[in-house]
């Protein structure tokens, strides 16, 4: 397969042209895509990698003796190596899943059902996405364990003292927490949380779905037992997620799904399991998606994650500042842009978020409105829903300016 040219390091102002979808116009207006926390757009390099894989290199992996099958396997496993290195993980403990949700369910099923029992506590927080709540509800109901929540302060922060208090009761088996909140933008001190949990004998899972796409992340430094993320928010295709697990735990865990590729040998009554990471990859893998995600992290690496973070920080600070100009707007989450990522949730008094999103859409400004799959957090915040703008490398201050103009228009439409 032809190597995909990786973009040379370049200023972020240039990257917009790399994303074909951003050339779409409506009524002469280009799209201002401000919903990257839901899913990111894809650069040409990712689209080409997937296209080229199917056109030139498609075969099933790990099986065939012919050259094409070997080429597909090399592309798939090569992507795994680069993805693992990008996140600071090891290749063998980097498991491909369908998405972050499946990665969490894998842990809840394979680790949880053998390690969590009656009277144990699974500790999560009020700022979790439903994907980091519901699998633990199911596990706790099934195993007679308790699900406890750490609270979120008015300015969107967790309290390490409250964490210590919860750990002190000695029953906590697992602490599972978002690295970066998809609603508040809060960057949680995950290294500190993991360290305190480990000292108290609890395992840890960090949901990096929002963090990995926009922060420099080194999973070996965070050192959680499990770190999960999803490809489609990191400029990659849908249908591919990643679980970085601690080797001893992954080795001790039973499989999640049974089937082909995850076995070493199959007898009539029992089977033995394949080595890591394939033990957890039953059935034909998302091969093209892994190849596409490999191209996505190559693209991000070429820009540099420090530059991506600086860009997100700049846009977030700019947005928080400009939102203050709009009467009746209240932004949620930390005030300090250093304490948060490129996600800004807000409300505008007198206009429901759905109506805001509708009026923004007329200006070709795409924002999210709703509960953002975080209904417990919405309840804690005392709102049914929020509007949310979120950014990635292709966003500009001009996109934010158009959002602010659309909010002013909404105020006029609603005669406020």
């Amino acid at each position: 397969m032809a190597a995909h040219p990786s973009p040379a390091a370049k200023p972020l102002s240039d990257v917009r042209a790399d994303f074909p979808i951003l050339r779409r116009e409506r009524d002469g207006r280009p799209i201002a895509y401000l919903d990257s926390a839901a899913t990111s757009q894809k650069p040409e390099a990712v689209i080409e990698a997937v296209d080229s894989y199917y056109r030139r290199s498609n075969a099933n992996v790990h099986r065939g003796v012919y050259g094409l099958a070997q080429e597909a396997t090399d592309l798939f496993e090569g992507a795994r190596e680069r993805i693992a290195a990008f996140a600071g993980g090891e290749t063998q403990t980097t498991v491909f899943t369908r998405n972050a949700t499946e990665a969490i369910n894998l842990v809840a099923y394979a680790w949880g059902r053998t390690n969590v029992g009656p009277g144990d506590v699974v500790l999560i927080t009020h700022m979790e996405h439903h994907s980091n709540i519901v699998p633990w509800q199911i596990l706790c109901q099934e195993r007679g364990a308790r699900l406890r929540y750490l609270s979120v302060s008015e300015d969107g922060q967790l309290s390490l003292d409250e964490l210590d208090g919860a750990l002190a009761d000695g029953h906590v088996k697992l602490v599972s927490v978002a690295h970066l909140s998809n609603v508040l933008g809060t960057i949680n001190p995950v290294e500190e949380i993991v360290g305190r949990a480990r000292a108290a004998g609890a395992a840890t899972l960090v949901d990096g779905s929002q963090a990995l796409p926009q922060l420099p992340v080194d999973v070996s430094e965070i050192d959680a037992d499990f770190y999960v993320w999803t490809g489609h928010k990191a400029l990659g295709p849908t249908g591919i997620g990643v679980l970085h697990g601690r080797r001893e735990l992954l080795e001790a865990m039973p499989p999640f799904l049974g089937g082909g590729d995850m076995i070493s040998s199959v007898g009539f009554d029992t089977s033995t399991w394949n080595d890591l990471p394939w033990k957890f990859e039953a059935g034909t893998s998302p091969i093209a998606e892994a190849v596409g995600l490999g191209a996505a992290i190559d693209y991000l690496a070429a820009i540099g994650m420090d530059a991506v973070r600086a860009h997100e920080r700049d846009l977030t600070a700019y947005t928080l500042g400009r939102l203050e100009e709009v009467a009746g707007v209240h932004a949620f989450g930390p005030i300090d842009p250093d304490a948060r990522g490129g996600v800004v949730s807000f409300e505008l008094s007198g206009i429901h978020p759905h109506d805001l999103a509708e009026i923004c859409d007329r200006e070709h400004v795409c924002i999210r409105a709703g509960h953002h799959c975080a209904q417990p957090l919405m309840r804690e915040m005392g709102v049914p829903a929020t509007a949310r703008a979120s950014f990635h490398v292709y966003n500009t201050r001009e996109d934010v300016d158009r959002l602010i103009a659309a909010l002013q228009t909404a105020r006029e439409v609603f005669a406020l």
Partner: protein
């Protein structure tokens, strides 16, 4: 004049009719829009003939869902309980008098869904 957020829609949104709770009431239902989590409930008072003599909607929602409940409320009082499940989605959308895009359909129909629940226990979306 905005084609969707017409003056009367905004008026019903800002000053919803028949809004609040009714105690005592004979029937009630609570439901939500899965898209955004908005909740809408209804309390009904029904006389011996099965006629709805009073109702109140309560909950939070967007302009479309709130105006829909408000506009429908006057049309629902005085009808027989048995009639409500026969009311179609088109009946309510015609009543609203604005064009509803597919993304806002559930906003517009939540009030009718809640009414159907309260009168028949049917929790499906009106068609």
């Amino acid at each position: 004049m905005d084609a969707l957020y017409r003056d009367y829609i905004l008026d019903h949104y800002k000053n919803p009719r028949n809004f609040g709770e009714l105690e005592p009431h004979d029937r009630e239902w609570l439901d939500h829009n899965p898209l955004c989590g908005d909740e809408l409930g209804v309390h009904l008072v029904v006389d011996g003939d099965g006629t709805i003599t009073d109702l109140r909607f309560h909950g939070q929602g967007c302009a479309i869902s709130q105006a829909s409940a408000s506009i429908a409320s006057d049309e629902l009082i005085g009808r027989k309980v048995d009639e409500i499940p026969q009311l179609s989605a088109d009946w309510l959308i015609d009543l609203l008098g604005i064009e509803i895009s597919p993304t806002r359909r559930k906003c517009a129909l939540l009030s009718l869904k809640v009414m159907r629940g309260a009168t028949s226990g049917d929790a499906s979306w009106p068609e």
